[in-house]
Subunit: 467 residues, 2 copies
């Protein structure tokens, strides 16, 4: 998918060598995990002979062991094949998506994740390996993408069949893992709350992020929509090619002024993942009949651990609105978070079906920033939190072979070489981002020095997990 | 339109005798006001010969002389033909609509009306009698409906041509005066903010009011929409025939409980004209992805004069919402008021065109509760404020002939007899409402005792107006 990121990731991989070697969970890479993607079926677990499957079945899982920094998410080995209840399917996970809520969750700022230890992860793609009773619309071997409240950052996941969606022809596992959260979020915000129509204007914050790119693509499916997108300057060329009409560098310019220069009356729709004072600005930037859709509090995230000052500031500036102001302004304020919508699979499925139709028609396509091994989840989270990604951050469950750890970033990227042709235009634009990332890599070394000690903890925890 | 209301109005007309006789503005009923509706052209003003038109041109106008009770709106005579600026048209007004905002305005609770003395009135219908320069799409003789921030409760109104809409074939002046505010409000709330779609559920408060009836009809244009409507029991049969699926008597039952019994998950859309604590209830009654659209503060209106306790209570209970609650609930809160949308004629025209198409297709049709002479505006406002109407309250500019004041309610109603056939079903249902109205009439007599004195003030003010 994103072979163009290789140099940056290579650097990551080099960093990784020191930290991940001790983490080579001895029981974590059994033959199962190497079973061929499409043929992965229930009997893959039977490769070890004569021992009951329940005992020999092991799989790697990322586990949030406590709230805090990037190192709190650890790779562990779990043992025993999970039991399936009626209506459930067991999915052999191929790729997982990272979301902003996962970053919030790690800091203890997301209440939809149960207390640690717990496996995070709201979306993944994979192959159905077993189906429970009463499951009629999924069968072993189906390639699916999965949406769940949590628990998908592992090699094997058990979920209700209704939380799975068939992957259409030609969609890679990475794309499939990149699609659910970002596209459903963008779709429901723009077309349910936003009621986006031709000739309207939309302000998209973090336009180079996963939701930002999905929202931009979805805006382009409606005639003559003008998209204003904020992103750091190095990402402007990419987001412009993706459909942003007016990119705005929020780091060097006042985005409110920039928007007013071009559209004095303001915006029809504003997607606000920031919270705090940016929500106030958004509200004031709305046209009459305008819709502000707030879907996060990214401003709360400052640094890798919970920053009480940032949290307090966000609370202090939290937007609160009186109905009289709404009436006099003819405005709408909406809140959206897919994580709180898990009881509404009917709505979600409806949105997903439309999105998949758009995908098949070539109108939307997830943009992968980079793909990381499970061992690299900390670095992946860091890149995302520091806003150095353009598009989706993906984790692959494919094990990191020894030689890759030494030389290459990831196998994933080779597989995706054939897709490069579509992406050539994007390649150059990433250069700037890569430079930023290199600077970033230097920063990364600090926390990593602690890693080796932590790896011992990890092993102990893994043992506990095995009971 | 509403010949079926005759008995009730007759009673009103009887009441009226005592109070309106002294109000027979001597200069208020010149031949002009009796000019035939369709033929009313600029030269109608030329019936008085040899004296310059500017001096002889007089017209009756309702004027809010100060904030307070029903008697604060007085009928005055204005002199001098208003000048037309470029882009404006002069409309000979035939009928005017009453709106809740007019009631608020009389009490000093609506900031879109300039300070008294001022002519209220946000909508009317009539005939174009003169066009200003640069007006290309309206001509003398055009039958139009008009939407304006204020100033339409008079026999002659000057408005921007862009604020007029051609009346379609077959629509009466009363219907045309009943349509703009209620239908545009209902339309924009349901289809812009509400994004109403098939199979959804909508709670409509005051379902027998002007907006309520318009909203119900518009809901029925979408497949399988379930409408919950609150109204007093006597109105249930009428609103049920109009399209309300589940009528709820809010006077004897807890509407929240009633809604939950039928739809435990709550509502997709709630239209809230009440404000205060009802807005809180509405918010809690929303489904995930639900939209609360608040468009008034009817709860503030208690009695005919400003009730400070009611206002304070409304403010105290005023709904205020934090974004975090919106996000966790996946909810939308919108505010709407057409009075604050007067800069957005493009949006309004778009909505109006769709509504007129629906009218032509027979899908929507304003329901007139009753038509009143300008002299009767106080009674009309009272009926509306006391929630005794089913549908729209209309004022007609046709003068009240002596014999009518003694015997008949109004000429208007005779003209509409031919339309009765469409309405036969509605006739019976109004009986209950009429009974209520009779009770009401007794109450009316109290304030009317003051009237005769006030009429003298009125004459004096009329003289001042003439300068």
């Amino acid at each position: 998918m994103s072979g163009e990121d290789a140099p940056a990731q290579q650097q990551n991989a080099v960093d990784q060598k020191q930290e991940t070697k001790p983490a080579e969970e001895p029981k974590a890479e059994p033959p199962k995990t190497e079973s061929p993607p499409a043929a992965a079926t229930a009997d893959a677990a039977a490769t070890t002979e004569k021992v009951p499957e329940e005992e020999t079945f092991t799989y790697r899982a990322l586990v949030l062991t406590g709230y805090g920094g990037y190192d709190k998410v650890k790779l562990q080995v779990k043992k025993g094949k999970p039991a399936l209840k009626a209506g459930e399917v067991l999915v052999r996970v191929k790729a997982c998506g990272l979301n902003f809520a996962d970053l919030m969750a790690r800091q203890g700022l997301y209440d939809r994740l149960p207390s640690p230890p717990v496996t995070p992860g709201m979306e993944c793609s994979g192959v159905v390996e077993a189906v429970g009773e009463e499951v009629t619309d999924r069968k072993v071997g189906d390639k699916v993408m999965v949406l769940n409240r949590f628990g998908l950052w592992q090699e094997v996941a058990v979920v209700p069949a209704s939380h799975t969606f068939l992957i259409p022809e030609g969609m890679s596992f990475e794309e499939a893992a990149a699609l659910p959260v970002n596209y459903i979020t963008a779709y429901m915000m723009l077309f349910d709350f936003g009621n986006l129509r031709p000739n309207q204007s939309v302000l998209i914050h973090a336009a180079a992020g996963g939701v930002g790119i999905a929202a931009t693509q979805l805006c382009k499916t409606v005639k003559d929509v003008t998209v204003f997108g904020t992103a750091s300057a190095s990402k402007h060329e990419t987001i412009t090619e993706g459909g942003v009409t007016h990119p705005i560098d929020y780091r060097t310019k006042d985005y409110v002024e920039e928007v007013r220069k071009i559209s004095p009356k303001g915006m029809d729709i504003i997607l606000d993942p920031l919270g705090g004072s940016d929500t106030h600005k958004a509200y004031n930037l709305l046209k009459p009949m305008g819709k502000l859709i707030t879907y996060g509090a990214a401003n709360m995230l400052a640094g890798q651990k919970k920053n009480l000052l940032a949290v307090a500031k966000n609370w202090y500036h939290q937007f609160s609105i009186h109905t009289l102001s709404l009436i006099q302004g003819n405005k709408s304020v909406c809140g959206f978070h897919l994580g709180y919508l898990d009881g509404e699979m009917e709505l979600i499925t409806e949105a997903m079906n439309t999105i998949l139709d758009l995908y098949k028609a070539g109108k939307v396509k997830p943009r992968i920033d980079s793909t990381w091994h499970l061992e690299q989840v900390g670095d992946a989270m860091r890149k995302m939190q520091e806003r150095n990604n353009i598009g989706k951050m993906i984790l692959t469950t494919e094990p990191m072979p020894e030689e890759e750890k030494k030389e290459e970033p990831k196998k994933e990227e080779k597989k995706d070489d054939k897709k490069k042709d579509d992406k050539k235009k994007d390649d150059k634009k990433k250069d700037d981002a890569k430079k930023e990332e290199k600077k970033d890599d230097k920063k990364k070394e600090e926390p990593k020095k602690e890693e080796p000690k932590k790896e011992e903890e990890k092993k102990e925890e893994a043992k506990k997990e095995e009971k």
